[in-house]
């Protein structure tokens, strides 16, 4: 793949987290993987009892259904300008195996597995007890 120069004037972002990438330029191969268990609890007091092991859920081990490689497209790309121009790009968050890139990525395969839990307080607790 023929490369182009990335000319970037301004990029603004607040957060890049959890196996995510912000890149200006070229990448040969990228494979971000993330596994997440997110526990939200009413009252937000966490003890070791609230720990959730990954091994309990097959979501984290079951194989993903990747597409079969069967493309027989012969592609020729001609760049008539040697550079990519970006004036301004803004984002708030790039999260969980995601990529924000200005440039080229030859090959990329990203994987994210996220499981959520919500723990609510007992409903029959009187307001006096819950304080």
């Amino acid at each position: 793949m023929e490369k182009r120069t990335a000319c970037v004037k301004n990029v603004e972002g607040a957060s890049v987290a959890f196996s995510s990438i912000l890149a200006i330029g070229d990448t040969e191969f990228s494979r971000p993987i993330s596994r997440v268990i997110a526990v939200q609890k009413e009252g937000a007091v966490f003890t070791p009892k609230d720990d959730v092991p990954f091994t309990n859920y097959d979501l984290f081990t079951r194989p993903a259904k990747w597409l079969n490689k069967s493309s027989n497209v012969k592609q020729r790309i001609y760049h008539h300008e040697p550079s990519i121009h970006v004036q301004q790009a803004q984002f708030i968050g790039v999260d969980t195996s995601s990529i924000f890139q200005i440039g080229s990525i030859h090959k990329l395969s990203a994987e994210a597995r996220i499981k959520h839990f919500r723990i609510l307080r007992e409903e029959d607790v009187s307001p006096a007890q819950s304080t």
Partner: protein, 57 residues
Amino acid sequence: MNLEVHNWGLNVCNVEIDAITASSVFLIGDNDEMILSSFFDTPPEAFTVGAIVPLAP
């Protein structure tokens, strides 16, 4: 199949994004191969009343 692509220029003036999440990609540029996979699970069982996290799937 034969495909011929002519890139006459790539100029971006302004892009504003809130979030790119769960194996997503925002790319200004070129790519040959991109495979993205994401499992996301927030079932009704994710809601538990009381301070007990379910231990079995």
